[in-house]
Subunit: 401 residues, 2 copies
């Protein structure tokens, strides 16, 4: 058995980001930048007012002074002239400060009547003026390559005048579920069979990770059928199989793919749920073989498939995000297998997050996995911990996983 | 000025979830259930083996016993007969336990040769047998209405035999940016103008919140144009405007919409950045008017638009999710406005999350907002806090916001 982290490391180091494509800014949300976004202009483009009021010469705008209003400078409509001695220009937030002015008389500190404004609060030079380039300057690298774009980033790229962005293509993930006993929801169930849940759960996980799932037809436990289906997936960035990866006589994935130039690793991973995992390459296509058990498949999906999707998307290799939580119950000492306790989240009297494992952790209980809000991580040989101890956990649900 | 929470409460109580639509299971990820998912079958459908091995009568399977292998029960292929005295049936994980058997001899505790298996470890009754219905039983409510579907939920709905799900329609959000001074990225910028960033940033925020954005053409600061554009958005579940909501002479949204049956509230909200907010209704369409300043618009988007999207999507009304973090710097006492300090996240020597505000918090700094990983929340009149104190923060980025 090999450690979980080693398995993840070997998977991630074998993967490369997808190629670059050009997408419209409006379609770039949640994609990963393949080229940095560089400012194409300076923002603000000139000194601008931070408030509504009057652009004035600060030296003139002493308490009680009366200034002649010679024009207006709303945002988008710069005043064409200068502000001379004894003059003021009506200005609004974002309006360009006209030449000559060096201060802003706030609207609430001014009284205007008959084209003359009276100063009710002396004006300090440069106060309420945002300097040209305060936000960014032409040539600034605003967003680095390898960044997954947030809504704020889309705003920033827009402000920097980018109608198009270079991003990594969404990884296309083939999903191949095998098994004589499985049927798609709503279709006739063979005698002794069950409804297939893995393929569409993994497809949703792929969507959650920013990929494009390609769900292949279910194939029976037959070497030729598996080999044919796998061959059909050679255009994918990654082929994920589920089922057929255990140690019994019905372990067909390896046998089926082995005939076809499949460079294979088969690992038993020291983890629970999980354990059997296939990792290899069919021609140029990496192949990740997950267990057929739905709970094992999804936990392996979180630990291996989501990080793999991130790397394929152009993000740095990383373990799933964890948070520190307080154990909501005593935790027994762990054995040699990295354990993932399905748990609910709550809050203790000190507002700290607690994670309480379900009493039953059987790896066949999919309903419990769906109800879980976190996976408490118990590394190999972790000692027993009392209720209230801090433990790491992978939060679920928040990210659609 | 009204408090932020009151404004959010009044917005959320005025909104109703969108109508129901039927979508394929494969398309239901991240949608909100409009009807519960009820189990259409029992899982497992019979007592099944939890391991690979042999189904036996536990009373027979004492240490050293030799049992005749009379058949096999792989998953999906139940054994047709019974297990009689002195007999065993080869079984695999998920295989139905044949009548007569009441225990599983693990593969690693067995030696098979010539159709006879020798017991190397006595078998306990019921051990390694998963009882019929351990996961769920026909009629169980597996997923409640009002739940946003995760990848695990999709798996569970599949296992419960649902090819279709009833979900709330994705909220359609009209986005109307106004201003003489703004141009779309890549288009000619008017003299004194800037590139419009709000519309596409808000559209991305709508996507992050599970909605469908409808970006309307930019309209100039002209009452007729604004009124016409707003009328075009009447099929939306919510119209979001940006710009034109301040207190100066160029506050046109209210004036433009007021002529057209607009039932209006205009609020100054005790928050920073933010402050001016329009809330009302144009015919049947709720209207949320955000400030034109990009940083204010996005912070208001997080505090008001995302919760509004959640309610429209069928989720319960709620404030944005916060986490408790340690302040990475001394925080000054706050004034009467609810403040949102743009901050980076880190980890202190005790592995606790820290949030350190940027030294400059000017509300025109969009690049700082994009770099921020959290908004530290400082309620009105919050006292000064030393570095290391616990404060609530809204995490950004993780959700594409």
């Amino acid at each position: 058995m090999i450690p979980l982290e080693e398995a993840r490391g070997r998977i991630l180091e074998a993967l490369r980001p997808t190629a670059t494509e050009t997408v419209a800014l409006a379609e770039a949300w949640n994609r990963t930048l393949a080229q940095p976004v560089v400012a194409r202009l300076t923002q603000p483009p000139a000194d601008v007012s931070a408030m509504d009021g009057y652009a004035v010469r600060a030296a003139d705008a002493v308490l009680g002074a009366r200034l002649v209003v010679v024009g207006a400078a709303p945002a988008g409509h710069p005043f064409a002239g200068d502000v001379g001695a004894g003059q003021a220009v009506r200005i609004f937030t974002g309006g360009f400060v006209p030449p000559g002015a060096d201060g802003i008389l706030l609207q609430e500190d001014a009284e205007e009547a008959g084209g003359v404004v009276t100063v009710r609060e002396a004006v300090a030079p440069q106060r309420w003026i945002r300097r040209r380039g305060l936000d960014f300057t032409t040539g600034d690298i605003l967003l680095p390559a390898g960044r997954r774009l947030t809504a704020r980033d889309i705003g920033l790229a827009a402000a920097a005048n980018h109608p198009w962005l270079m991003v990594h293509r969404r990884p296309r993930i083939g999903i191949l579920a095998t098994g004589d006993e499985i049927a798609l929801p709503g279709e006739p169930i063979p005698p002794g069979g069950i409804v297939s849940s893995n393929a569409h759960a993994l497809a949703a996980l792929v969507r959650a990770g920013g990929g494009d799932p390609l769900v292949l037809p279910i194939v029976a436990d037959d070497r030729d059928a598996i080999a044919a289906a796998a061959t059909a997936s050679r255009g994918c960035d990654l082929l994920v199989t589920t089922g057929g990866a255990s140690v019994g006589e019905h372990d067909l994935i390896q046998a089926a793919l082995g005939r076809d130039g499949f460079a294979l690793d088969f690992w038993k991973i020291a983890m629970r749920p999980g354990k059997p995992l296939i990792w290899g390459r069919l021609g140029a296509t990496p192949v990740l073989g997950l267990p057929g058990n739905p709970v094992s498949a999804l936990v392996c999906g979180v630990q291996f498939l989501l990080p793999a999707l991130a790397v394929l998307s152009g993000l740095p290799p990383a373990a799933p995000r964890t948070i520190l939580v307080r154990a909501g119950a005593d935790l027994p000492a762990n054995d040699r297998r990295f354990d993932h306790l399905r748990a609910t989240l709550g809050t203790d009297s000190d507002s700290h997050i607690t994670a309480t494992p379900f009493p039953q952790q059987d790896s066949s209980m999919l309903a419990n996995l769906a109800r879980a809000e976190a996976l408490i991580l118990r590394p190999p040989l972790a000692p027993a911990l009392p209720k209230g101890a801090e433990v790491p956990a992978i939060p679920l649900g928040q990210f659609g996983i």
